[in-house]
């Protein structure tokens, strides 16, 4: 079992790290400053040190210098809020393996620790990505469903796309254990199950899986708005109503697992993915695009690009896209960003049908758009 020492004056940070590393089956030693760490290291050896920079008594750089002076080559990862270039640079010269700036996501910590310890994941990736997750594999899993009625997980599994991985558990204890084992994208919590449908449990889930959307699963009420407010007061982000239907599961999947594919931004290039669903889903497809464009354009503006290049080559040239692009044009204008479209010539006809879009520049490929 790898042994890791976390050196940080914050008990909260040490606690977070200890929990995350314990989930990786590491043995964790704690020290609250550099001096205490050096003393502890005289009586024990560790495989990795996670070292804060600014600490009372003895700070991280001083401890690192003394550690190296003593001949120790123990790998060190700096874990700090301190981004001062000279501090990081000096630490690099003294042979740190890596550094992590706070605040940090659990995944980043786990990845860097694994890399430094040269740990490899258990060979369960294929099973996880293709549907039911393998408990204990440590792999990221899409959905954790917590419900004391076993049939709920079975029903959702049958309705979910097989590409969406899922783990079902029936108790709070099993859920927390699962969260220590896997990062989840979405955690579904039975809202009728008192052991888990409370703010304290939601807080624990958030701490263990900081990136996960934690969603309550109540029975659909007569006044959803009132229930949603109650659910949010407990820390849930949304509701996913029982009983499930193919439509509601499709909505759920589209919301949580398709989003990245609809619109991908790389610097100033926004690429819209093709439509690969039933025709009756066109409205939802364009609706989602409409929601995704504003933050993408804000990203372009905040990265100081003067133009956004929108690649529409893969989408069907339907009138709906003009409505979306009209909103894009207004948003881009408000941000002071120019818009250049890339798409098939027939898109021009669609653009010409609307006042807001007929002046938009359309090019057959990206290189022409860039050189215009």
């Amino acid at each position: 079992m790898p042994r890791v020492m976390t050196v940080d004056d914050s008990r909260a940070v040490r606690s977070i790290i200890t929990k995350q590393l314990a989930a990786m089956h590491c043995e964790v030693e704690e020290a609250e400053d550099g001096a205490q760490a050096l003393t502890k290291l005289q009586g024990t050896s560790v495989d990795l040190i996670l070292l804060d920079v600014t600490m009372p008594v003895m700070d991280g750089p001083t401890m690192l210098a003394q550690l190296r002076k003593s001949g120790s080559k123990t790998p060190v990862i700096m874990l700090t809020s301190e981004s001062k270039s000279s501090v990081i640079g000096d630490a690099m010269r003294q042979g740190i393996d890596d550094y992590i700036l706070k605040p940090f996501k659990a995944e980043e910590l786990v990845d860097k620790v694994k890399k430094s310890l040269k740990l490899t994941d258990a060979p369960a990736a294929a099973a996880v990505s293709s549907g039911s997750a393998v408990p204990g594999s440590g792999q990221p899993v899409d959905v954790l469903l917590i419900d004391d009625v076993e049939n709920v997980a079975k029903r959702l599994r049958t309705l979910l796309n097989p590409q969406v991985s899922m783990l079902g558990v029936a108790s709070a204890q099993a859920a927390l254990a699962a969260c220590r084992e896997h990062p989840f994208k979405v955690i579904l919590v039975d809202y009728e199950f008192a052991e888990v449908a409370n703010a304290q449990f939601v807080s624990q889930l958030k701490l263990l899986c900081p990136g996960a959307a934690i969603i309550a699963m109540p029975l659909k009420p007569e006044t959803p708005a009132k229930l949603l407010a109650e659910v949010k007061a407990k820390g849930f982000s949304d509701c996913f109503y029982k009983p499930f239907s193919p439509e509601s599961v499709e909505d759920f999947s589209a919301t949580h697992f398709d989003r990245q594919d609809f619109l991908v931004r790389k610097d100033d290039l926004l690429t819209v993915s093709g439509f690969v669903n039933k025709p009756e889903r066109f409205v939802r497809y364009f609706g989602r695009l409409e929601a995704l464009f504003p933050p993408a354009l804000e990203g372009v503006a905040s990265d100081c690009f003067s133009d956004a290049f929108i690649d529409l080559s893969a989408i069907p040239p339907l009138g709906e896209i003009a409505r979306v692009l009209a909103a894009v044009a207004m948003k881009a204008k408000a941000l002071g960003v120019g818009v250049k479209l890339i798409g098939p010539p027939e898109l021009r006809k669609v653009l010409n049908n609307f006042e807001e879009t007929k002046a938009m520049a359309l090019f057959s490929d990206l290189s022409k758009a860039r050189s215009a």
């Binding site: 008990r11 809020s81 981004s83 605040p103 304290q200 958030k206 996960a212 934690i214 007061a233």
Partner: protein, 150 residues
Amino acid sequence: MSALPSPEALAKLLSNVTSTMLGISFRPVPSADGFAEVWRTVTLPIPGARPLTVGLASDQPSCGVLSAAMFSCPVEAVDQSMMSDSLRELTNMTAGLVKSSLGLDQALGLPKVMAGDHMPACGPPPTTQSVVLKAEKLGLLLWVSEGVAA
């Protein structure tokens, strides 16, 4: 010299910390909607060419809930030292982001905990930017001021 971050920018920086570490997002609210009583305050100096002080204050219930989230334990299990520790660490992480947002290459000082609303007197009001933030019932007050209290 760049201006201090706006209240909206400060709110984003702090919410970035809490959402990354705790999954809790804060939003800025008018100061009149803030919490009733400041219970604990942490200040963190950033000495150097452009000395700054970053402060974070909270009421007791908020501090308890945030600490419980940090320590992954029930609110009832949170003690005074855990609350001070959590608020100190949130201040430390936020100060790191404030410093980066201003492009300052200065080292962070150590955070200091004070009971009550002890905002430091380190500069006239125009040099202080502050924002009240809420996440459901949780409230925080964040400020940045030019200068470091002696």
